[in-house]
């Protein structure tokens, strides 16, 4: 075979692989959304769920929102503080490399292990019971590495000149951080938060063990509940109402698409504002 034909074949295979990735995505989204849209209505979002698989998914929407809010409240400040420490204070050394190993290991731990831990520690040891709170505490550990890494990158991208200017004007290091560095890194922090929201919405295994699967509207963060993903899992597993499963899946996918779009928007702003 001549070199030219061989190259053309390989190039063809490369194109095919890239096409495959895109095709799978469209197939997946198309399949769920096309089957789900006819069953989707505003009513579906605001109606209570009945265990005979009628009604809507209002309790699941509320549980998901509670879970997102609570876990962000825990993880965002912690993540930003760690990122500040790692970029602005820490000297390269043993502690920093251990912290990095720890955060990387955390992002590699499977979600079912987080679920087990959440059940053992937050639900049982800390006596939170099966609750949104226990689930939020669990997923905050999961999203922490993402927040730290993304915020770190954003802080690193802040030009040194900003810092030097502020320090030269007599501001302390802390004041420079709060008034100059963090505001400039804000789009990056927003990206981190958006990525985390996506992760929490999509998570199932780490959530259903500490939060439970209770289908009623949660009254507070201390009640059990069922998030959208867990709901879809249960519907799919029991195979009773695929209509409802498709509609729930569509809500999930559309939300992920919106978040993805917002992330892109912020990143674009970031790259324009940064230069």
């Amino acid at each position: 075979m001549s070199r030219h034909t061989k190259d053309s074949i390989l190039k063809g295979v490369i194109y095919l692989c890239a096409f495959l990735c895109v095709a799978v995505l469209f197939w997946l989204i198309g399949y769920v959304v096309i089957s789900g849209l006819p069953h989707l209505s505003f009513d579906f979002l605001i109606k209570d769920y009945h265990p005979d698989n009628t009604g809507g998914i209002f309790p699941m929407v509320v549980t998901t929102l509670y879970l997102i809010g609570t876990s962000l409240l825990i993880a965002t400040p912690l993540g930003i503080c760690s990122a500040i420490y790692l970029t602005e204070y820490a000297k390269q050394g043993r502690l920093v490399s251990i912290i990095r190993f720890a955060t990387e290991s955390l992002s590699g731990i499977p979600s079912i292990i987080y679920g087990l831990f959440g059940m053992l520690f937050f639900v049982t040891t800390l006596k939170m019971g099966f609750s949104i709170m226990a689930g939020a505490a669990t997923v905050s550990i999961m999203i922490l590495p993402t927040i730290i890494r993304t915020t770190e990158e954003a802080i690193k991208a802040v030009p040194v000149g900003y810092r030097e200017g502020s320090l030269a004007l007599g501001a302390t290091k802390l004041r420079t951080l709060v008034r100059v560095v963090i505001p400039s890194a804000l789009p990056g922090i927003v990206t981190a938060v958006l990525l985390s929201v996506g992760r929490v919405i999509g998570e199932t295994a780490a959530i259903y063990l500490p939060v439970g699967t209770h289908y009623k509207l949660p009254t507070s963060v201390m009640s059990s509940g069922r998030t959208l993903s867990v709901h879809l899992y249960i519907l799919a597993k029991e195979g009773i109402s695929f209509e409802m499963a498709f509609a729930t899946g569509t809500v999930l996918i559309l939300t992920i698409l919106v978040i993805n779009f917002l992330t892109r928007l912020v990143e674009k702003k970031l790259s324009v504002g940064g230069r």
Binding site: D7, C21, Y31, Y89, I148, G202
Partner: protein, 291 residues
């Protein structure tokens, strides 16, 4: 007056520095607590039952105090290996496409698509697998469809984004001079890619593969929905099977006593796999930084 003001500023600075430091140490504490709690909850029971009976046992029947997870070890290993065999070549070639071959406008479509694949919830993959892949396999082989093969197909799609993103980054990190040198010596672009660029990006690509293995072995919900979850030893890819993760997720909600402890023990084995992968990853990263 000015001195006191500066003194106050200095103290606040120190306080905040310590708050920042504590927050970052929290990651270490969290990791240690997760490892500690799972091992504490699972290891004693595992030793009680006997590590050989646990790891090598062919039967998992909690009602008869039989806790062998060998079929699940096989299940996890086979679906992970299968996903790697299918997902890695496709992922690497897609990364080559993005970094070297694609015209800018096409890359602008493919790259976001791959990133979006990473954001799709695993339960959606499972749902899609259950309603699309499983029936396709059933109509081809008449085996009911829910099988190791179905899990392999779903997992190979799920690990694609990891492989593609990391491979693309490491291909882009290869110095331009490598490629230019190869081209100057008369190699074609494709030859330069496969004989110079990919070998030079080797350790980055390996990191991607290790992360992909971690994602596949840890995946739970998608696998449960498509694999049939039989506790029997699978004899072919078309058989039903169960992974370690599925074992934990399926039985945790009603297990108690020793049964529950043995599920934690399953978690311990899973964690050992993951920590080994993490150390390999650490070594690969160090190797890259040393270069």
């Amino acid at each position: 007056m000015r001195d006191r003001h500066m003194e106050k500023g200095r103290i606040t600075g120190i306080i905040f520095e310590n708050i920042f430091r504590l927050s970052s140490i929290l990651a270490i504490i969290a990791l240690l607590m997760i490892l500690g709690y799972i091992i504490y909850a699972g290891a004693p029971a595992m030793i009680d039952v006997g590590i050989r009976e646990f790891l090598g046992g062919m039967e998992w029947r909690p009602t008869r105090d039989l806790y062998g997870i060998f079929p699940m070890l096989v299940g996890s290993t086979v679906v992970t290996a299968g996903a790697i065999i299918i997902g890695v070549p496709i992922g690497i070639l897609t990364a080559v496409f993005l970094a070297e071959v694609a015209p800018e406008w096409l890359a602008k479509i493919v790259r976001p698509a791959v990133e979006l694949l990473a954001g799709i919830p695993s339960v959606i993959y499972g749902f899609f697998g259950l309603l699309v892949i499983v029936p396709i396999i059933h109509s081809a082989f008449g085996n009911g469809g829910d099988s190791l093969l179905a899990a392999i197909i779903i997992l190979s799609v799920m690990i694609l984004p990891t492989i593609v993103t990391i491979t693309e980054t490491s291909i882009r990190a290869v110095p331009r001079s490598y490629k230019e040198g190869a081209l100057a010596l008369g190699a074609s672009h494709i030859q330069a890619i496969f004989q110079v660029i990919i070998p030079a990006a080797r350790s980055g690509i390996l990191s991607g593969i290790v992360l992909g293995i971690g994602r596949a072995i840890g995946e739970t919900m998608a696998v449960i929905l498509v694999m049939g979850n039989s506790i029997k030893m699978p004899s072919s890819l078309l058989d039903r099977g169960r992974t370690m993760t599925a074992n934990i997720a399926l039985e945790m909600s009603y297990a108690a006593g020793q049964h529950q402890q043995m599920l934690f023990a399953t978690g311990v084995i899973l964690l050992i796999f993951i920590m080994i992968l993490n150390f390999i990853l650490l070594k690969l990263t160090r190797e890259r930084q040393a270069k």
